[in-house]
């Protein structure tokens, strides 16, 4: 705390918060299966300051955006199994675009529409907008309405200060591919609805970007069994 007040620059606190959000969002994108360089994820604070701050030390959010391509394993996971009518199905994932919103007061329809348009024009399959302040109700509506083609997600900077998956009480969540899900249902002779559920707005579900109908495998440490796996259906 003494550093925040002592070292003079009023922007230091904001920059360090932004740096933590930056690191978490990179870890999130990498955890979802996109390709990111190690040095990009683990960028030290000094380098971050050098790269993304203006002359007076204030952060420059508009140049912090980045995109990432899905890795081979992710493409494999997101490609639906070939059928007779569609022997060579296209993968359901594509390049992701992440942007930090420079707006500091409030985010309305116009800002959101601009972001959605940018994602659509550059044919990104997913877009993440990191904002410093909450969205207005109508901007949220724009996000859900237009997410037919592009999957738009929004995160608050303050929600990204800590990577929740690194907490010791949060078990590992692994997204299952379609084939794995079918195998699971067959193995236990279940219908989809008979699985335990997880909400789409659950912090972990938001972290992994789960869609309705996807299944996650949750691996917990168990004292008696060593490891214990359970499955949840996203609703």
């Amino acid at each position: 705390m003494s550093d925040d007040f002592g070292s003079g620059n009023i922007h230091d606190k904001e920059v360090s918060r932004l740096w933590r959000a930056w690191r978490t969002i990179h870890e999130m994108v990498a955890d979802r299966g996109y390709e990111l360089a190690e040095e990009e994820i683990k960028m030290p604070l000094d380098e971050f300051k050098r790269k993304f701050t203006n002359g007076d030390g204030s952060p420059n959010r508009s140049i912090m955006s980045f995109s990432a391509r899905p890795s081979a394993s992710m493409i494999k996971k997101f490609t639906p199994p070939p059928t007779a009518s569609n022997p060579d199905p296209a993968p359901e994932c594509g390049t992701i675009w992440v942007e930090f919103c420079p707006e500091k007061t409030s985010i309305g329809i116009s800002v959101m529409k601009k972001f959605v348009e940018h994602c659509a024009n550059n044919s990104y399959k997913a877009g993440i907008l990191v904002t410093a302040v909450a969205l207005s109700a109508q901007a949220r509506k724009v996000m859900t309405v237009t997410s037919q083609y592009t999957l738009i997600e929004c995160f608050l900077e303050e929600d990204l200060l800590v990577n929740i998956t690194h907490h010791e009480l949060v078990p590992t969540h692994i997204l299952l591919s379609r084939e794995e899900k079918m195998a699971l249902l067959k193995r236990y002779r279940l219908k989809e609805t008979q699985l335990p559920r997880i909400l789409q707005k659950d912090p972990i579900a938001r972290y992994l970007g789960l869609k309705r109908g996807q299944v996650v495998k949750i691996v917990r440490i168990s004292e008696t069994a060593g490891r214990y796996a359970s499955y949840r259906l996203c609703v």
Binding site: T105, G108, S136, Q138
Partner: protein, 298 residues
Amino acid sequence: MASTPNPPKSILKKQPPTPDAPSALELTGLTRAQAAQLLTLSKTELKPPIPIETFELLSAAFPSSQPPSQSDISLLLSHLPNFSPSEYLDLIDERNCLNTCGYALCSKPRRNFTGKVKIRRSGVAKTEDLNKWCSDECALKGMYIHVQLEHPSYEWAGEKGEMKVKIRLREDKEPGVKEVKKAVEGLSLDGADDERDKKGDEAHEKKKQAGKLAVERNGMGVDKVEVTIGEKEITQPPTAPTFTSAQGGESDAHLMVEGYKIGSKGKKPNNTGGEGEDDDDDDFIPSIRIESLNYGRP
């Protein structure tokens, strides 16, 4: 008893004959009252959500001029009845996101107070609420619409027979005493600048009109009545009023109530016996009846 010819009687209630086909009401599983309620609701409460385009239209660069043009006002009034109260608050939010005043017919930038609360003449207010508007007047106007949406009064809208929420805009504030005073001051200063000149003209016009009104009220109004004010001379100290002999004299003064003496005239002597009293009463009542009957038939 055992050999009764009658067949055993069913203890179940007789079922009413089933209708041939279930009606539309039964198919939806609604009672008649529920259906009626739904019908009225569909005319009033249940509205489709406002499309985002409308929000954009009413928030970005609206109104196009200040003061708002007639077309802007009619456009707003055509959209407003479809808004729900919460959607109207969203519209205010949306306008605030673009840094304009929350009142839909004001294009000024909103206020920018800092801190959490602000002390005003009316009390302590959250800056968050104050910053939604450009002025207190716009806040009044804006919330005036919100109240009408929250407690809607419906009117029939044209030929379609739909109910529409009636929306009225708040009138601009009328000039108060302060403004008129200022205007009069402006007049006496011969109008150094344009603003003063304008106000002076207004005051002058008002004076002229007042003069005309005075003429109208008392004819040509030039003749004046001579009024002289004289003092009433007092020669002796005031005394309390006393009863004169015509009112009953000094000796009976203690029996008077408001100048009328009780029990002096028109009262029977009270030396009659118990029986006599009863007879009197019996006679008295029918006599009244006859009188009243006579009154009834002239």
